[in-house]
Symmetry: C5
Subunit: 360 residues, 5 copies
């Protein structure tokens, strides 16, 4: 798991062979759950029913009931289930293909009778500090919402609670409000990831000031990559929500539209923050590189100072180490101390020069 999680989704898309007919149902992701889990929640203002079913046919009755029904499918590897569901609820083959072909770009498609929405749900994996993506597909009709997820575990538990306990206005509203709530929950969860990233940025900035290592750079690089993934999910999301808000479809009521505007604002805010983060992170690479070259300068300076002081002195010592027969200085009584003195003087002058040059 850890292994695969490191590679951003975009690099792993298993493409279908070119030329296959459109609507061919093959699940391209990896099997992430043992068995497909199908649950439904059926409600209106006064009634409520929730059940995990083992057989997709149990949900077919809800197609025509006036109540709001939310069918949730966790696990996509059983193509049969998706196919049956598609036939029963009259979904276009391309919709089914998109559901199974995970790794889709977030998008919105209006098929009059229903609206098809593809989203990316992101979650932060604390173990290997990466962002993991999962495709959530939502089919919104006039009396039901069907959601498809790759694995069990999502950010919708609060919504389920609100339906169960009739908190807020969700039980009084239609399936469009439910769909909005799902989207809102996904968008809200992005903020959590941004916070994690913000914390990491601050951590790295501190490291950069105190003790930058090659590790720091690799972490900056990995942060950059995560942002690229995040960005790829959020930019199209913006179009999706803006499309939902401005749609002329009767499936989205005006009363829900104002809530969509709110989610839209959040999306813009997320985009703004990502862009700011990108700016910050690219500034950090500069900081890193310059701190590396500053360090190198410091090293070079020490070398230069030691070398430039001692190389001339060693030369002088070398001169008086020569074995010429006729070197008058060697016989002077004060030759040795005089040479030592000269050496000290040379060293002092040099140190003074370096100080003046601000190398010390």
């Amino acid at each position: 798991m850890k292994e695969t999680a490191k590679k951003p989704r975009s690099l792993k898309r298993r493409s279908k062979p070119a030329g296959l007919p459109p609507g061919t149902l093959i699940y391209v992701g990896e099997r992430k759950v043992e068995t497909v889990r199908i649950t439904y929640i059926d409600y209106d203002e006064h009634n409520f029913a929730e059940k995990q079913v083992s057989n997709i046919e149990e949900c077919f009755a809800f197609k025509t009931t006036p109540t709001v029904t939310w069918i949730n499918i966790d696990g996509l590897h059983d193509v049969k289930i998706i196919e049956k569901l598609g036939q029963q609820f009259e979904l276009h083959p391309l919709v089914l293909e998109d559901i199974l072909h995970t790794g889709q770009r977030p998008k919105l498609e209006d098929f009059e009778k229903y609206i098809f929405i593809v989203l990316t749900m992101l979650s932060y994996n604390g173990d290997n500090q990466t962002v993991e993506a999962e495709q959530v597909s939502i089919v919104l009709s006039s009396n039901f919402v069907i959601s498809f997820q790759e694995r069990i575990g999502d950010v919708f538990d609060q919504i389920r609670d609100r339906i169960r306990n009739a908190k807020g206005r969700i039980r009084k509203m239609g399936p469009d409000y439910l769909a909005y709530s799902l989207i809102d929950a996904i968008v809200d969860s992005y903020f959590t990831i941004l916070e994690k990233m913000g914390e990491k940025i601050e951590l790295l900035e501190e490291q950069l000031v105190v003790e930058p290592t090659e590790q720091t750079l690799h972490q900056i690089h990995s942060l950059k990559r995560q942002m690229i993934v995040l960005r790829k999910s959020v930019w199209p999301l913006r179009e999706v929500i803006s499309g939902l808000q401005r749609t002329e479809s009767a499936l989205i009521k005006d009363s829900t539209s104002i809530y969509l505007r709110d989610v839209y604002d959040h999306t813009i805010q997320i985009i703004d923050t990502i862009e700011s983060f990108r700016d910050m992170v690219s500034g950090m690479v500069d900081l890193y590189l310059s701190s590396i070259s500053n360090k190198m300068n410091a090293v070079m300076k020490v070398l230069t100072i030691i070398a430039t002081i001692f190389i001339p002195l060693t030369f002088v010592a070398g001169v008086y180490g020569m074995n010429f027969k006729y070197m008058p200085e060697l016989r002077w009584q004060l030759g040795y101390p005089a040479v030592l003195l000269v050496m000290v003087l040379v060293a002092v002058v040099m140190l003074f020069y370096f100080r003046k040059k601000k190398w010390l």
Copy 2:
């Protein structure tokens, strides 16, 4: 205080748990004032009243009076007050959520009966040389303006004075002009921050020429970050004001529209200046890096010159320091001075070569 101020707002947004119903009222900021301060100013061309009230209910009467009423709330931690106000003045739950959920992107929402505006008020904190942000929310109706601030202290004192003393045309105009005045004051205060930044840029440029240190780079980096924050506030502000100016809402009178165009021009000018600053600052990073490598070059040159002159000379001295029995030169009368002469010649030739190469 100093600690938190260092971190730009965007990195600190405390997100609400994903899936909470929209309109849930939780204040996400830190409590910045002891007690919530509520003041109102009620005026028309001839009358004027100003009061600090301890109870929000005292303001409810103004909802229907024909005079212009400006209710200002400093401090948002008491959710109850906001809730009551919201109910009385019929504000949408999402509006209340946005007021409390500080750190919003500046935005404009038209709810027919009132217009809701979110702005960011920036102030320069001289102590730690950072820009601090505070969310100001404004509700503009046909006969009142309600403003919400996170803490006491704002840039509106001049406006209060003008109302008190009936300076200018403010007392003759409606609440839209008051709202315009608040926005104008906030936008004008951005210029002060730009001036501070301009001064800092000049200071840093001088440092770059005279004596760049690693500190300089960190200051450039921090300046860059402040600009990212500023930019995030100003770009959406532009949309807000442009939206206000072109709105078809009856709440904005034509006579005010021309003033909004003026603020709009200021916003554009601020954006232009920020972009210019960004260009300048990124040029400064280049300057810094190249001055660092210039310094390194200077250091390297000294090392090279000293080493290349003395290494050969030391070699010569080493040769005549060898203890071979049969070294004829050692016995020559003039061996020693001849070797010294050769050494001087070598040194002179090298210095000449370096001068020719312009390394000296």
Copy 3:
């Protein structure tokens, strides 16, 4: 072959002499097949015929039959064939010129009676790890599709199979669906190339962490160039498909339009992925450069440590190697061990200093 494949197409376009009349039919590419291969597939829901013909005239009859006919031409060097075909099927001279003038930018032109589409088919050459481009021109009319390819071998075999075996809905649909299928196959094949690139990026990233060599940089650079080529093909492709989808031409039926929207989504996804790859690759250049300078730092440090420790010690040895007559220390009983001790001390102090400076 290997030689020419290295050079991206854009650098090789053999331009026609300036001022030649438009519609002059000269094939500018290299002759890539021995003989031109002409095949046709003629079908409707119930009938099917497929044949390789040696004479283009055999296809002329299909111009007016109500069945769907797909004429495929592999090899463009025989200008005569193209000319005859053009006359018979009433193609505009500029269309014929574009077919022969390979290396065109993907484009869409609507001539009422037919639609002319130029696409770039890319294939990954495993031998020299480059992307090879081939121009595919498609003429779509109300009852036939003519496709022109530079050489034998394409990504359409799955489509031929589907027609032969009446798989999917292809036999029930018109020529617009056939044209869509061709485009879809080409777009799908891009994903394969993206996968190869993704794998290469991961490989290079690993190399960057473990053992970056100059080779790595050249591979990054070559990857960058391939992306430039890919990008040049995909961006205009997007316009082509979006144009097809929104066209008001009667040649594209509504039922096909929804499939075109699907291809359009894929194109956007390809563009997104390319842009992400570009971001990643440019981050890799930074990583490479900094790892190079890190290596250099490591080398410099060793030099500095060795040099700064031994240069002073050698100087001390040099001093006591001088031949002055009066050097009292030389005669001390403990002179030699004392000097050795001093040397060890100097070395230890220096090592300690380096450790403190974190150079070790």
Copy 4:
């Protein structure tokens, strides 16, 4: 003067205190002339009058005359004059504020009865090689043009001459043609500045090839800053002129519109040139940095060659300088010449190796 001129205008804008009522008349610039100079030129096809007046009231009569009147004000520090003029000619308070609040972004405002234009007049100061900016505000009405400048001296003398001597068509045209002429003169003067910059770029490029110094980089940086200033003036100018050209105001006659298109083309050309210059200059920074590192390489090579040749030789000399009692070589008759020969051989081999490596 020299001092202030160095700082680009954008960094000096003295902001008015936030919250001051709009239309407050304060001149924010520095007093640039001793006394305000007011001149008018009054003309139609047959008549002409020109006068410098000491009292603004002398111009009031022209408000209603059918002749074209051009009132020019040099110097803005006397707020009273502007105020009186504003009242007499019915200018909006915000217009007067913009006139006095120099450092405005070029803009165009249509007040039905008159059009208000703000432009930036640039002049090249040869003394300190900087570009100086001055705000020119123009009020264009159906029978007069009022222009406001910060100081005496402008680029309008040719226009005055043309009016005086009835050269060209200016005397036959209305005030819109006069306003056009003023704008045209300002835009033309930008070309002069571009020429100066072009010359400087060429000079710097030559310096880069021959002898780049740190000074060169600072000049490139200063050039970059001047371009930022220029750009800030020209981009909005484009909008102003395009706005004038497309305006539906009756104040701009169709016959003038064609001339405005011409100025518009010039503006685009200026923008193109600035963008090209920016590209060139940023390429120059790369050139500079690489020439610096090339120089460093050259220095390093010399050091390496000298050091790598002599360090081993010195070692050999050191070995035979050791004082071991039993060193057989020292007593060989040919020991000394043999060692010298070995040394020469080592040096030759090394030089050969360096040549092979192309370091020489």
Copy 5:
């Protein structure tokens, strides 16, 4: 000639003094031909006449003949000729100014009776490997085309041939087709320049891999500049052709429009190619810089290895060269060989360490 050709046109525009009346006829270029050469070609489907005239008046008759007349003027220094022509053919003074004021941005102006087109004709000068620009102005009317060139020599010879020999459809079409042909020839000639650039890019890339020198960088830089010039010509060209194609002028017939679309496609392709080239070239600068620093690393490594091996050895030799009276080792029988052995061991250990560190 060679001298001036080096400087891109944009840096040389000799501006007219600010404030000169528009339409003032001054030729700002350098005189590039001895005498102005005036030629005309007059044709319709059946007739053809071609003549070089010495007097512009000879062409005046063609103003009203129904045949298509192409008047070509080589050389612009004789302002009189242009003026007379302008008067006779009723050209707007601004048109004449633009013709003479060479160095214009490519543009299209529709004067109802005629269309005025400015283009840049580029030619590759093999001598100094630069791109040379020449302004070509075209006036297209309902029965004539006038073209103005700065010097003799153009890319229109093929067109003249086609007219003379009635090749293609040119003799059957009107002046709009002739104008299209001229534009097409110019655009086609850009491809030749792109090819030259492509070849140069490949050459430089090879140099970068094999043996990058400072010369290489200067060539990359010069290539970059040429691209800037090319880009400045092509981007506006795109607007010109797109304008021509969408114009509602009766001067452009529908049958010509389809040919214009073809030229438009070529322009887009040229732009694409230039942008790709830019991307490639900027990648090359990175490659160059990193190959430089790789070389430096190689040099540094050699220095480090030599120095770190011999510096300690020299120290050891120095120790035993000291003249202390009491140094027991010096008297050992095996002292000398032992020391030599130690030295060899030290060297071997170090070489082993370097190999392990992959520095060898």
